[in-house]
């Protein structure tokens, strides 16, 4: 029996794990995207809590912008032993809770969704499940054994990716 931990992945952060007893979690995603990449065969997963589509200037946390977070997430999971062709992606979040953008551009949630998918395409990683858009906040939980779960505010937890072992 391996001792696991619940690892909180907060705004702009990335975490990876190969411990089947760990759970990577981002609580209360609004317009942010929780992006999980999972190699089920090797039991390795990573989670990025992405805030915005693309980096404009400066550095900032590596997980903040989709264009920088996605390659970094792939890099860290493969560095831990994941096989790149085995990586599958699951997206959760990207809701439009408010219309707050002062520039009048499209809502951040939808732009985040598009930017993350575009960055995944460049990395040639398939999106196998997604729970994005709408107006409700969500929590994502990722188990390195392969399971990815999503829970909407006031809703039940749903399984977006089955774990390999029950």
């Amino acid at each position: 029996m391996t001792i696991g931990a619940e690892i909180a992945v907060r705004m702009g952060e990335i975490a990876v794990s190969g411990n089947p007893a760990d759970v990577l979690v981002s609580l209360g995603l609004g317009s942010c995207i929780g992006l999980a990449v999972v190699d089920q065969r090797h039991g390795i997963a990573g989670l990025a809590h992405i805030m915005l589509p693309e980096a404009l200037a400066g550095d900032g946390p590596i997980g903040k912008f989709a264009d920088r977070a996605v390659p970094e997430l792939v890099e860290r999971t493969t560095a831990l032993g994941a096989s790149r062709p085995m990586l599958k992606a699951v997206l959760v979040g990207g809701a439009q809770m408010f219309a707050l953008d002062s520039s009048g551009a499209l809502d951040i949630g939808a732009r985040n969704d598009t930017a993350v998918r575009e960055a995944l395409r460049k990395e040639r990683i398939t999106v196998v499940a997604a729970e994005t858009g709408g107006a409700k906040g969500r929590t994502i939980r990722v188990v390195p054994g392969g399971a990815v779960l999503s829970k909407e505010a006031g809703g039940a937890e749903i399984v977006l990716m089955q774990g390999v072992r029950a």
Partner: protein
Amino acid sequence: MSTFTTMQLDALRELANIGSGTAGTALSQMLGRSVDISVPNAFVLPLGQAVEAVGPPEQEVTGVAIPLAGDMDAVVLLVFPVEDAATLAGMLGVEAGTEDAVSALSEIGNILSASYIGSLGAMTGLELDLTPPQTVTDMLAAIVATVLASRAAGTDTALILDSELRVEGEQCSLSFLLLPEAGGVREILSRMGVEA
């Protein structure tokens, strides 16, 4: 990463103190009850930690977001725990969870923000206007993170001015947050004569 001196944080806290005092008076007049106001907190935190500083991430709350227009880019956010939102709706004679309750809470948001922002404007000389309130019930983290993300393109830290108002004799409190964009904070500080 932007940081503030103790003197600057004190100035911001004082601003929040006066703003929430005015807002508390407005709430008290509306309800005909006493309202207690906490000493405000001024947090400057990395974005990742800012959400947790406000409260438990998955707590179900009603948030009223009011973006400001004018000399400073900021969002005012009122956060009510759902039970407290229901109590408040009851005090105003509307049924919790209905459209009427949503408009009543939005209107409270409007009135309190107008008082808060009015005193902030008077102290700093900034011309500030409220835009219409947007009210949602959801997880605390989702609401706060979404508001922060809308102003986060150019900054990795959040300044949160957090005051708590409590209606005396009722289980009813709300948090009043002012989340300015980085340029907005500099503007406030320079108007108060405590720029870096």
